[in-house]
């Protein structure tokens, strides 16, 4: 079985995003960029399935700017076998899902494992959309993935707890935080990754129209919460809470 893992280059999760003063977006100039954390978990899960013998090949794919090559090299350094870069800027989840659907058609992976959401646009859509476009079942927000013959059992993090579903493969899985802890790429593997195959494509190669459906009219800072007061001791805190009507 082949596993396809889409990855996205996003602002590093440790960087505090700043809204541009002209309100057109978030300032990404000279900001550290990394692989979306949920996608790292997806790569890790694919590699673990391969190491267990459940998968034969792991293919990483990214739809993004030229520099998304770095993100793909990270996936290759972690252990993915080869990579595909579809060069396109600011493609919405629907467009990404359409390109991925074409790649799924070509590559015929038994599983596609994606991050549940990207930490830049927080859309949480691509996996579900890809599942719809390919007519495949979806196991979203996964905290456990088990391949069982021609099915995959996915334990999902849902409101109130956990839910396990069984999906016929081929299937789409999106990762939640507690699925695994991604490995770090070792230096020798980083060097090795440089010579692994990385194919370059464009949306036109797949005949997909990625023109946006949403227009961002403006981007603003959220209302700022200012720091309040500090109280000296528990008695003062209890008094404050009582003022707010919080009592036992």
């Amino acid at each position: 079985m082949k596993i396809l893992v889409p990855v996205k280059r996003v602002i590093d999760y440790n960087v505090k995003p700043r809204v541009k003063s002209d309100g057109t977006g978030v300032d990404l100039a000279n900001v550290k960029m990394s692989m979306n954390p949920f996608d790292e978990i997806a790569v890790e899960e694919a590699l673990r399935l391969k190491e267990k013998g459940a998968a034969a090949e792991v293919v990483a794919v990214s739809i993004g700017p030229d520099k998304a090559q770095e993100t793909l090299r990270t996936a290759l350094a972690m252990g993915a076998d080869r990579a595909i870069l579809v060069v396109a800027e600011d493609v919405e989840p629907l467009g990404v899902a359409k390109i991925l659907a074409k790649i799924v058609e070509e590559e015929a992976p038994g599983l596609v494992i994606l991050g549940k959401q990207a930490i830049d646009d927080d859309s949480n859509q691509t996996g579900q959309m890809l599942a719809a476009l390919t007519g495949r079942p979806q196991g979203t927000f996964a905290s456990k993935v088990e391949v069982k013959g021609d099915a995959v059992e996915v334990t999902r993090e849902v409101d109130g707890g956990l839910e396990t579903v069984s999906l016929k493969t081929p299937a789409i899985v999106t990762t939640d935080l507690r699925l695994n802890e991604p490995r770090y790429a070792s230096l020798p593997n980083i060097m090795k990754a440089k010579s692994k195959p990385l194919a370059q494509k464009t949306p036109a190669d797949y005949g997909v129209d990625v023109s946006p459906r949403l227009k961002t009219l403006k981007v603003t800072e959220p209302p700022v919460r200012s720091a309040g007061i500090k109280v000296a001791d528990v008695d003062a805190l209890v008094a404050k809470l009582k003022e707010l009507g919080v009592t036992a």
């Binding site: 579900q128 079942p137 905290s143 707890g161 007061i229 001791d233 805190l237 919080v246 036992a248």
Partner: protein, 309 residues
């Protein structure tokens, strides 16, 4: 404009998140509600009483019992020939199903809206709520998920909508429900609790979390939350997590105990009316958003607080 709202329910009653979605949908046009489930007649009757709902569609079929997206999304997409917008609360079901519906309709979804500016323009948080985007959709139909804390809840009573049975193609044969472990919470649900007591990594382990946080929550009749660090460390189950990727909460009072205040945690609770922080590190970022802060050792402060409240 006519709007179809996804009703979040447990077959017997309607979940609060639905009520906020009804309010958001009401800003767009006439609201009809879809109750999909198995043996969900009581939930449909409850949905018919929600103020502002004009009609309830019930799809009662074993295939819809666990809200599997593979079965439910084609049902919704089929019904959408009569509607201009599909609105779902941003619950785990809503987030699972709505994008599948959107792709079936060739629509780009607008996730987690905070406000309705006009029939095609909405605001939504991006970058963990560090920025708010105003977006305009050019799609003929809209597919939207709604952040529950951003809209007032519609009245659960007062309406008298008609109830009409609908059917879809049923089981797509792609997926099946295996099991669920739903944590039994005798405390208020996080998304509707008036007071929340949340614990962080400083609580050391599951026993310490339970013996420190729970007495305070019990005393106040509060819901219990946790930071991602505390959940990752296994102190409490995943559904306690408050943050960018966990639950988004906005209670009257949020008491953060031993939580430093990482960006992704603040994203989940900074709309709380009053934030109280207890932390021994006076430079912890949580104090930058807290209305009332107390610098101190939580192991002495919290028990003292419990005894004096």
């Amino acid at each position: 404009m006519s709007v179809l709202v996804w009703v979040e329910h447990d077959n017997a009653s309607v979940k609060d998140a639905t009520l906020a979605a009804v309010t958001a949908a009401g800003k767009l046009g006439e609201v009809h509600a879809l109750v999909a489930g198995s043996g969900c007649g009581a939930a449909a009757d409850a949905a018919a009483k929600i103020a502002g709902v004009g009609k309830v569609l019930v799809a009662d079929d074993a295939a819809y019992g666990h809200a599997l997206a593979e079965n439910v999304a084609p049902l919704v997409a089929g019904l959408m020939s009569n509607y201009d917008a599909f609105v779902a609360p941003a619950t785990s079901n809503g987030k699972n199903i709505a994008p599948r519906v959107a792709a079936l309709l060739d629509v780009m979804q607008i996730s987690d809206i905070l406000s309705v500016e006009s029939a095609d323009t909405f605001t939504r948080p991006i970058y963990a709520g560090n920025a708010i985007a105003t977006v305009q959709s050019s799609d003929a139909k809209k597919v939207i998920t709604v952040r529950g804390t951003a809209f007032a809840k519609a009245d659960a009573t007062g309406g008298s909508a008609s109830v009409e049975a609908v059917s879809g193609s049923g089981d797509a044969g792609l997926s099946s429900f295996v099991s669920a472990e739903i944590a039994k919470q005798e405390r208020p649900e996080l998304t509707s609790a008036k007071i929340i007591v949340s614990g962080g990594r400083a609580l050391k382990d599951a026993d310490t979390f339970a013996s420190t946080i729970l007495p305070l929550a019990d005393k106040l009749g509060a819901g219990v939350g946790a930071s991602r660090a505390a959940v990752d460390a296994g102190y409490v189950p995943n559904d306690y997590q408050v943050g960018q990727t966990g639950k988004i909460v906005a209670p009257e009072v949020y008491i953060a105990v031993g939580i430093s205040g990482a960006i992704q945690h603040l994203a989940g609770m900074k709309d709380s009316k009053v934030i109280v922080a207890i932390n021994k590190d006076e430079d912890a970022p949580i104090f930058q958003v807290a209305d009332i802060g107390l610098v101190g050792d939580l192991y002495t402060v919290v028990p003292e607080l419990v005894s004096k409240l």
